[in-house]
Amino acid sequence: METSCSFLSCDHDDDERSWTMEDYAGAIPRWCPGCGDHAILAAVERLLETEQLPPERTVFVSGIGCSSRFPHYLTTYGFHGIHGRALPIATGVKLRRPDLHVFAVMGDGDCCSIGAGHWIHAVRYNVDMVALMLDNGIYGLTKNQTSPTTPQGHPSNTQPKGSHLMPLNPLSATLGVSNASFVAQTADWMPAHVYATIAAAFRHRGFSFVRILQRCPQYTDDLFQEAVRNPNLVEMLVHPDGVDAPELEKIFKNRRVHDPKDLDMGRHLAEPFDRIRLGIFFRDESRQRYEELRHQRIHTAQERIDRLNEEFEKYAV
């Protein structure tokens, strides 16, 4: 139930206000030139404008890393937290204030390494929020260390002879968690698709996990180079209930119909490392949402006193 806290300071003039993309812009981004984060920020601003989200009722929570600077570059409420912990903070916000639109922005190290425990449980809690995982396959801010999604063999400062292990597959992992309700993937070099995907994520009621393949010009310049140059390496998952970016149809001809209701197929499609598939892998609005299960009615101070006095009776001398 989308409610504000009280009848006080309730927007009396909600219908008369409107916002442009500029209204949502914050500080000038300090990401490197060529960083994929810029495009993602633009797509998010476009979403805010389209949905006309009141800036004061929109909250972006982030962890630590390059991508976690995100909230600073928007004029909404923001909480730039600590490494790996964006999701617990966001959960706390939404638990107490279901009326707020909550977004969590994380990097791959943030979400899949130090924050992995929270990630698994946030998927299970299925609190209504949009979780954007900006995956550049490297630790950028701390200057070039292997991340859980670094491709095997890619050298870094910590694994100079190349990453030892197969990378973690964030899509498969998320799809494997009980109560997952929305899992999608998009890529920063297709702004229209990024927009369409996060718009679908926003409209989904539940925890929407979006992995965004994101280029880092500094350390993983080559990671998506081939896919950027050759659209045929990318497979678009399409469906009337999926995401639609009609302007991309001509460029990305490699299209596959995938019904987001089909979890088994979604898992199957998410599995291979060597294929870049973009679109919605799974969506199910009927999953339990923690904040709704736990939402409590607010009582007046006097009601609480009366009730606590009843409780005292049980322990009275």
Binding site: T3, C10, D11, H299, A301
Partner: protein, 333 residues
């Protein structure tokens, strides 16, 4: 007091949206109380309020006067604003004190449904009116002549979009002959939800004219439909009818087009041309025709091919076949 046993079940099903309204009411009440306490006339009284708020350990260890000196003091209210605070509080307290039955109403036969719902919302809306009065008072814009009446009644028409989202659900018991729903469209906005418990004969599909893409509309004998109404995060109306008449549910919570949203389980035929209450036979036929038209639209919506390729069939064997076909990638062939 609800006379119909169904009303109790309906009220129970509407607990969530009603709690939202009562939560807002409770929060408003406490916020106004704290606001008032923090701005008492006279430093001594204000310090007493601050001291009390610290609890007993706080009082034992904190010098409240020194603490008060550290904290910034918000300007006292002007006298008129000061004076209206207790009145606003009284309105909120009286609404909070009323039980959940406050949202239910039984129409006296012959009474105008539109006016009764109007009055009910205007009465419940006094919580909003009181909130607005407090807001105006504390920002120095309160004018008794313009705003005092909001404490007496605050009609739905004046509620903002955000306030309408917090509208309490209402349950009305009425005779079928009094069911003139057209005027109710005005209230179907924000989060407002109306449930009509109908006794006696009425026209076959009176609510069909209220169907719009974002409005939940149901005609049924089954009280359980109210749970779906309660779960919908928007406006809606449900009529609980005795036997006879059309049966349908239009649930905008279901994703997809009209075909997905609208489920029609019964479309009666008119047995002869006769009036039902105020409704002429022509009007009744018109309602049914509209329902059939929607049924047609729904069917057409579902028939539209959903994808360039056929949707994945549900049967496992077909699924496999379809998948194999896709893998074959015949697009170039």
């Amino acid at each position: 007091m609800p006379s119909d046993e169904r009303t109790a079940a309906i009220l129970a099903a509407l607990a969530a949206p009603r709690d939202a309204y009562r939560s807002a009411l409770a929060a408003t009440l406490d916020e106004v109380r704290v606001y008032r306490d923090a701005r008492r006339e006279g430093a001594a009284d204000r310090h007493m309020q601050l001291g009390a708020s610290l609890g007993l350990v706080g009082v034992a260890h904190v010098d409240v006067d020194r603490l008060a000196a550290v904290l910034s003091v918000e300007a006292a209210l002007e006298p008129a604003a000061q004076a209206v605070m207790p009145r606003a509080l009284a309105v909120l307290e009286s609404l909070a004190a009323r039980g959940d039955d406050a949202c239910a109403l039984t129409l006296v036969p012959g009474e105008n449904l539109y006016e009764a719902v109007s009055r009910l919302f205007a009465d419940l809306g006094r919580a909003i009116g009181a909130g607005r009065v407090v807001d105006l008072a504390r920002s120095g814009r309160y004018r008794p002549a313009d705003h005092d009446r909001w404490l007496e009644a605050f009609p739905f028409g004046q509620w903002s979009q955000a306030e309408r989202r917090m509208a309490p659900p209402v349950v009305i018991e009425l005779e079928g002959s009094d069911l003139r729903p057209a005027g109710l469209a005005e209230f179907l906005d924000g989060g407002a939800k109306i449930v009509l418990v109908v006794h006696g004969e009425t026209s076959p599909a009176p609510l069909v004219r209220l169907i719009t893409p974002r409005t939940f509309v149901a005609q049924t004998a089954d009280v359980a439909v109210v749970q779906r109404l309660a779960a919908w995060d928007g406006p809606g109306i449900a009529g609980i009818f005795p036997a006879g008449g059309a049966r349908f549910v239009h649930d905008p919570g279901v994703a997809g087009g009209i075909g997905a949203r609208l489920t029609i389980t019964e479309v009666p035929t008119l047995d002869g041309r006769r009036r039902a209450g105020p409704f002429s036979a022509t009007q009744q036929q018109d309602e049914l025709d509209q329902l059939k038209a929607l049924q047609g639209a729904a069917a057409a919506d579902l028939a539209v091919p959903v994808a360039p390729q056929p949707a994945t069939p549900a049967d496992p064997v077909d699924k496999l076949a379809a998948w194999l076909l896709q893998q074959a990638d015949l697009s170039g062939a």
